[in-house]
Symmetry: C3
Subunit: 137 residues, 3 copies
């Protein structure tokens, strides 16, 4: 069996940003030499999500609006008594989905026609990492 | 190590449908010959969820009602400016959970007493696939 | 390749309880002897979540309050017609996240600076299990 580990680094310009990382994940799969296996895509910070959905800018705006309704940036979170101001970001990442594991088949990401892998940042403007862990053969 | 790949195909009669796929997943595990390992169950379309919960019809109705409250089918989503009408389905799948990875132990799904694997379709009436990827030994 | 299976058992004093299980998961990784691979942490009961987030008590209170708003303990769930009273617990576990898969690198959990693994119980006061499944080399 083979394993391969890689770290993607993001430092977004805005507090909230949605980045399509499908190409970067695909590149790691090719580099690994794994033909059949699994890849875990896991943000190493707890105010960012990795999820799979559509690369359509309108839908991304819909997601942002919906997240703001269900987990608003506001005063009054108990987490803010520590001096933090990002409780909403922790909750938004939870709503959006923490991480994904994808199949590798014939040396490629085994994606459906519209599946794209996104990194969703909810407390950016600083350096953050995503671990890619591949195992297979 | 061994790997095994299989695709389940669903074409539901209704726009929204919840299907218990535990038996189909179990059958794939048996077919793979893997005794110890992991199985990823990943819908390849972005308006369907795969999740684990109870095979109880009342609870499934509760989930549907709750999803409709939190992510209603309505006009006004920006995604609909592309001609689509299923933004709510993208969001409902996100709420319900994208995918699951389950343990294989002694050649069987290592399930708790009530764990059942469901495919939740939110924009059906067309052909959709779920990839099953097994790795182990 | 190597695999390792372990079961954690929890019986919480309260109906709702959030337990940091990072140390227990790390111990299983060490015991497995796996240097590079994946670990699945999956609650075997459907009214509990396993998620990754901050070990900060204020944030945990924020999560509890937010879960109660979005999936309140109340009368009227159809699931309760079976005699059950825990439909909210099934929904809360879905919101919080079902399970996590983490990377193992150099024989250790490959965690970011704030990533901690939690078991969130929403219908406790009875014996429940979490399966840890490790595969790698």
């Amino acid at each position: 069996m083979k394993t391969h580990t890689e770290y993607l680094v993001f430092e977004t310009r805005n507090r909230t940003e949605f980045l399509n990382i499908t190409d970067k994940v695909e590149t790691a799969v090719e580099k690994s030499g794994v033909k059949e296996g699994l890849i875990l895509v896991n943000p190493m910070h707890i105010t960012a999500a990795v999820y799979v959905n559509d690369a359509e800018s309108g839908l991304i705006e819909d997601f942002k609006e919906w997240l703001e309704e269900l987990a608003p940036a506001k005063q009054g979170y108990k987490h803010h008594q520590t001096g933090e101001d990002n409780a909403d970001a922790h909750i938004k990442r939870t709503l959006m989905g923490h991480q994904v594991t994808m199949a590798i088949t014939n040396g490629k990401l085994d994606l459906g026609p519209w599946e794209q892998i996104y990194y969703a940042e909810f407390d950016g403007q600083r350096r953050k990492r995503v671990v890619l862990k591949i195992i297979g053969e």
